[in-house]
Symmetry: C2
Subunit: 890 residues, 2 copies
């Protein structure tokens, strides 16, 4: 997972191609669409449009290699760039019939950045470059429009100062506003040519005054300045943050496109606009966009004038509109995807400035993909590959109404998607009381959560924590429940005693309403309205295609009837991980569980376990019934016993009473069970080895439930019993023999024949290495990749927040290894275990059931590694189905 290509090195610079500049224009281009890596998305697509014969202003693109070389060589540009650039500039001049810096027929250009992946608004652009006191006059004369010329000059100075000279634009905006106030006008367009001339003078004085040097008159100095500014913008903080958030390697670099200017602001027969070939929000097949007459691109963005919707264009410029829609159709047909297009109309002539695959909502993506299959533009595999599986999350959870106003209090990690509003509560007990007794919607706010809080999390609409990462207890459990969660909102100062929290100047008390957005990490004051999801027919179609092509089976991690039902609705093909311990936190059960833990001897433990047995049996009967013959993998008790112990005085007394021992004994036992590193402590099958009676009870509950099902429904139930945290083959053998013994007792007693499997969770590096021996008795493996990641990397996921973000920033890891599987570390162990396990037992069933089971990149890995299934939380099942399908189309 190390970024092998994250560090631009001198070596890369040395490998730079000889050709640094690619020309386009007049229906021909040196580049094409599939050269995005070299020319950036913008440059490649401009070249492609040229070759398609579309009207594109001539220009050239400086390659990303130049940028990479620039950084590798201590911010020095390649010496051979200059000549190639002059040559390319000459080609534009010849195509346009104008000359850069010429006193009579000047060429103006735009300078734009363009990376391999779209990074909207992250890097810098300069328009109208090539103007100075001389060329502006020539432009005025040539266009016969002095006002236009000086407006362009004014805009250019302002933009150039902002982007290249790092002189903040507010200086100029103030002068512009002063001018309008003096002239008692409201709109920029009401300024006269003389006003603008005066402004230009004032602007240039301001530059001299602020920077101690004049605004550059030399158009070549302007051009080089703008190119360097684009390269420098690759490393500006905004761009770095964007790259980190979108997993774009620093090593890609950006290209620079220099293009002759066309003007949408030369009069009322001019316009500028943006459009999508289909609706990017719904996917509807209908042109969608907006335009502004007599304007330059930046005016649309600035929002000073309200643009017109595209369907008003036929009335205003019917011919151009016809041309434009023809271009839309041509581009969509060519790219076989919905396009996001920028255009300018100069004196009734259409010019294309950009095309790219348009960003869209998940719903639109699904609809467009399905419709394009029906239109035979793409095939099913292409449709499957076109949807980001993670984006489906948007469709499965309620989302905040994007139109609603909001006050953001803090931003944490987007730990479990969806949005929720409710009254703030600070304890699981309060959550339960408020939710169940008072029917209130609540948000459970904790510094961090523990298994003791699960009932409160169940009762809450959403969970907010001040500590913990994307895979903290709160995050994992919330995702499992499909509940929104924001974790690790470190700015929150939570005071349990006062039942309040302080953040960014606000004090929120118990009962105050907040809203959390688990898809963005935002925490907002008050209730923000949400929108409920509806699964469209297109969604179902896409999913059915995915199911046809995928090889991996998709199971779910579930232990409650609700989770199991939701997962089946979302298409789960069985339960891959039923964590039996979650079944013990129920108020009635936790007492018996605690009684078992404080028991002084085997007899005491057995007595307490006898109370739990009928409850466990019923749990399994319910799950078997819901899963209706699908496989159900049940993991025996895993967490260290102290997780179940009481903390409050009241609880301690209750347990002491139930167990018939003194309060001191309960306290002493709690103290005795405390561990330095519980993750590596007395847990998993170590409990089964030291207290075999626990696993005996669980096995009995499973087999009795299975026997009941067989008698009740005459249907076959094949429980898969999973032993956690196996480290030694002998551990597994010992515990399997206990389970086999219980199985044969139950079968004899009930007169049934139960088919079952006993397997293990592979969660430790040692288990991976000894998998061949473990497979001699284990009938299936399920990689517990959470624990396997913790041990392979030596990182406690609960404690990783303190450094993992810095690791991402410094490029040491590309992704949090608890979010996306560490393929070259943990992955190698999975390969080793799979190979050795299958060598011993070729038919062994192998899956994974960690958090990674819902991560598309990890699912692709599992497919390649030849696993049989992945198991993920219920709300991730559709994500996994699609990701598995994508993996098998590669």
């Amino acid at each position: 997972m190390t970024k092998s290509n994250a560090q631009p090195s001198a070596k890369l610079g040395a490998e730079m191609s000889d050709k640094l500049v690619y020309n386009f224009g007049d229906g021909a281009a040196e580049g094409k669409a599939d050269m995005k890596n070299l020319l950036g998305g913008k440059g490649a697509n401009l070249a492609e449009m040229c070759s398609l014969g579309l009207p594109v202003p001539p220009g050239f693109t400086i390659t990303t290699e130049v940028c990479v070389g620039y950084y590798a060589n201590g911010k020095q540009l390649s010496p051979s760039l200059s000549a190639q650039l002059e040559d390319a500039l000459a080609q534009i001049e010849s195509k346009v019939g104008a000359k850069f810096g010429d006193g009579t027929n000047p060429l103006l250009v735009s300078v734009r950045s363009g990376a391999r992946a779209s990074m909207p608004g992250m890097m810098d652009t300069v328009l109208n470059l090539g103007l100075n006191d001389i060329t502006v006059k020539a432009l005025a004369k040539k266009t016969g429009n002095e006002r236009f010329a000086y407006d362009s000059y004014r805009r250019f100075i302002q933009m150039y100062c902002d982007v290249v000279l790092e002189l903040d634009h507010y200086h100029f905006e103030e002068m512009l506003e002063d001018k309008k106030r003096d002239r008692e006008i409201e709109l920029d367009t009401d300024l006269t040519a003389d006003d603008l001339k005066e402004l230009v003078v004032q602007y240039k004085e301001k530059v001299q005054q602020e920077l101690g040097k004049p605004f550059p008159d030399s158009v070549h100095e302007q051009l080089w300045g703008a190119i360097m500014a684009v390269f420098n913008s690759w490393m500006n903080p905004r761009a770095c943050t964007y790259r980190r958030l979108h997993d774009i390697p620093e090593s890609w670099g950006t290209a620079v496109t220099v293009q002759s200017m066309v003007f949408g602001n030369m009069g009322d027969d001019c316009a500028t606009g943006v459009a999508f070939t289909r609706n990017p929000s719904t996917g509807e097949k209908k042109y969608y966009g907006e335009f502004l007459v007599n304007a330059q691109g930046e005016d649309v963005v600035a929002g000073i004038r309200t643009p017109l919707p595209l369907d008003e264009m036929p009335a205003i410029m019917p011919d151009v509109y016809k041309q434009l829609t023809a271009v839309f159709d041509k581009l969509e047909g060519h790219y076989r995807d919905m396009q996001d297009i920028e255009f300018t109309i100069q004196n009734q002539k259409l010019w294309m400035l950009q095309t790219r695959n348009g960003k869209r909502t998940a719903a639109a993506a699904v609809t467009i993909a399905v419709e394009m299959v029906k239109e035979k533009l793409i095939d099913i595999k292409a449709a499957i590959k076109r949807i980001d599986p993670l984006s489906l999350d948007q469709l499965l959870h309620p989302t905040l109404d994007p139109k609603a106003p909001k006050t953001v209090l803090a931003t944490g990690l987007p730990a479990s998607p969806g949005a929720a509003s409710g009254k703030v509560v600070f304890t699981a007990e309060d959550a339960e009381t408020m939710a169940l007794d008072h029917k209130e919607k609540v948000i459970l706010v904790r510094i961090e959560t523990s298994p003791e809080d699960i009932h409160g999390m169940h009762a809450a609409q959403g969970i907010l924590t001040a500590r913990g990462g994307m895979t903290s207890h709160a995050a994992v459990v919330a995702r499992g429940m499909g509940k929104p969660c924001v974790s690790g909102a470190g700015e929150l100062r939570i005071n349990y005693a006062e039942k309040s929290l302080k953040v960014s100047g606000h004090t929120i008390k118990e009962g105050d309403i907040i809203t959390i957005n688990g898809s963005t990490g935002e925490v907002m004051i008050g209730e923000i309205p949400t929108v409920q999801p509806q699964l469209s027919a297109d969604f179902e179609t896409l999913m059915s295609w995915a199911d046809e092509v995928r090889v991996l089976k998709i199971r779910t991690n579930a232990e409650t009837p609700l989770d199991a039902t939701v997962a089946r609705k979302f298409g789960a093909e069985g339960i891959g991980l039923c964590r039996t311990e979650h079944m013990f936190f129920d108020a009635e059960r936790i007492i018996a569980m605690r009684e078992m833990i404080v028991a002084q001897n085997v007899e005491g433990r057995k007595a307490a376990l006898a109370k739990l047995l009928p409850m466990q049996r019923n749990d399994f009967v319910e799950l078997f019934r819901i899963m209706n013959g699908l496989p159900v993998t049940i993991r025996l008790l895993d967490p260290p016993l102290h997780e179940f112990l009481p903390h409050t005085e009241e609880d301690i007394k209750q347990v002491a009473k139930a167990a018939g021992v003194s309060v001191d004994i309960v306290r002493h036992r709690a103290h005795e069970l405390k561990e330095q590193n519980p993750m590596l402590g007395h847990r998993g099958c170590r409990l089964g080895i030291t207290y075999p009676e626990i696993y005996e009870m669980q096995a009995q509950a499973i087999f009795e439930a299975a026997a009941f099902m067989i008698k009740e429904s005459k249907e076959s139930v094949v429980p898969e019993i999973m032993i956690p945290l196996v480290m030694m083959p002998k551990e597994f053998e010992l515990l399997k023999s206990i389970i086999d013994k219980v199985a044969s007792e139950v079968m004899r007693r009930t007169g049934t024949a139960i088919e079952y499997k006993v397997g293990t969770m592979i969660e430790l590096p040692r288990a991976c290495l000894r998998a061949g021996e473990i497979a001699q008795s284990a009938e299936f493996f399920s990689f517990g990749t959470n624990d396997l990641t913790q041990t392979t990397l030596g990182i406690s996921r609960d404690d990783s927040a303190a450094f993992i973000e810095i690791y991402k920033q410094k490029g040491i890891v590309e992704q949090d290894p608890f979010v996306s599987l560490d393929q070259s570390g943990v992955g190698e162990l999975i390969h080793i275990a799979t190979e050795r396990g299958r060598k011993t037992r070729p038919t062994i069933k192998i899956g994974i059931c960690g958090e990674h089971g819902g991560d598309p990149a990890s699912i692709a890995f599992c497919h390649k590694a030849g696993l049989d299934y992945v198991s993920c939380s219920p709300y991730r099942v559709p994500v996994a189905r699609l990701a598995a399908a994508q993996a098998s189309t590669d």
Copy 2:
């Protein structure tokens, strides 16, 4: 590490050879000395002595395979045993000229156990078997000694009841005492034949009364009963415990030797005795032993009569003595080792009953080995292989005077060898005050220790803890300091508030004197005198031989001048691990360290680090000076920062004052740094990545110290800087670049050229897997096998005590993996890392520096794995030198 052969299986039984019984006697034998696995040590050596022509009573040995088969087949003996046994019995009868159970000339036999390894007193023996009411009369008549015959019968009944019928011997001892009281005599030997006859009748009545059935009259029933009893004794609790303590696999089984009886108790021309061919305590070349006239072996053991020293024998039985010493010389010459011999003299005829290599103290072992080389009995390699490296510990630490009386309060784990007495203190502070200010010897008693206690541990004579295993903090640090430690003495009830501890009815208060024996785990009341160790010339000779043959280099783990000095004295060839954090616990430094930790920003941290810099620099100067040109590997800060934080209110205030912040900020920071699983938390190089200024300071201190040394001593110093807990190649690269930068700054500033290496500790499975990439920039690897074991096996060594003992008992692990390296798990990762690291960088230096560096089995593994060195605590250096030599003679 799973006991592959721990479970006797039907398969093993099925593979049993056809020959189940091996005969010996009359100068010939079917077995020989190298058949110990089949015949047990006793049987094999009896056969060998026969073949050597020594006088051995005829007999036969039933093989260990019969025992293994017995357990594999549900305690059923092989059906073909009976015929072979009858045949063997017939051979004895013919050699002796007597008949088993015969009414006129009866054969009597002994039945003894004999495993592959000696398990003294752990299993059962029956003598005089073959007596009943008829044969006893025949024996009386044949020997003309009725008293002898009935005394033998009486002894037989008593022993047989104890061993075979499970009727406790106190029943019989009471009757014997009653009889003596009735007869008003004191010694057993004063009982008459009639007394003994009466006793026999009473004994047999008792058997009928207690067991409801008569004592068996059938001599064959007696024989089979005794054989079964020996096999059953293999699994008695004493034997199981002994095997676990001595790592003897259950699967070996025991042999049974049946041998015709000879009698040392037939009169004053009879005797029985035990002897060593050299002094087993000192190694002196002088016959050593004791004998008892007119007695049977058990009388020597019972201690009723005091035996005579062997050098009184020439006066009593000069001819037999001459014969005996000739046998001694013959046996020692034959076995080329000091022998432990049992003999019986029957009517002036010498019979040999056993010979085996004698157990000896470490000092004797060394002396005997060295002298035997001088005597040309063995060569140097044999001498090296003959010493158990771990036994050298006895020679290096003070030991308790074995003759002193003692009251054992509790027994914990023998965590760090040696013995110490002192006043009990319960806090590190009290330890320091009492030791430094009041010059008292103290024993630091803690529930468990933490790095905060190190100064107290330094001040104390020894450490006693109620919690923690052989590799707990207390154990590891104590071994590093060469201080005695008993850990995990769970019976102690320590009350810090009252400064007292309760154990087995005693209350020990602060200031009371106790003694701990770190070699046995015993805790005793009061002061027990100790004996100081002296390293003999023989020891030095042996060590010099070891150094000649070994390939592995031996370094030490040391950070204090004292440790470094001790280690050099013991022959360390450099420092393999200098844990810089140990240098920060000094009273003056901990404040600056804490200031650094509570600092709010980089500047604050740098200011605090600046205070630490000169102290660290001096530490390194001292170490470099002591190591005098030998390599010194310095590990940069490793533990999580909260280990340094203050706990008491007083300390918190002091830190707040020093750092110029509020007490609340210190508390908040302490809370913030608290971790769920600190072992897997924000530690190791993760600190270096997030707070680069810490590693910068440490690197600066190292290089400035090196520069100083170069200028001062003109000698070359090659510091090896070690980055801990590396997980990603990029982590290492980033930190190495920081170190390189500091190095070049210091070299420029001081005008010196410092040669140095930067390498990493390999402590995580991922680092093993990616070792090839890490080796691209790392110049050495040192396996941190403590952490690597923790992560590979998923076991926190601090929390393993709760289950690892049960794992050993159940045969899941043979050894605590923190004591002896898990070769098939952790070991495979070491192989992978070594292979991949060397592939990238063939000259890379590779060692280990975990606790395993001092464990002989682990050292043998490191030798085979081709490592360059092992590093261990100072007091383990001689152990490691010898173990490394042994590994290279295999």
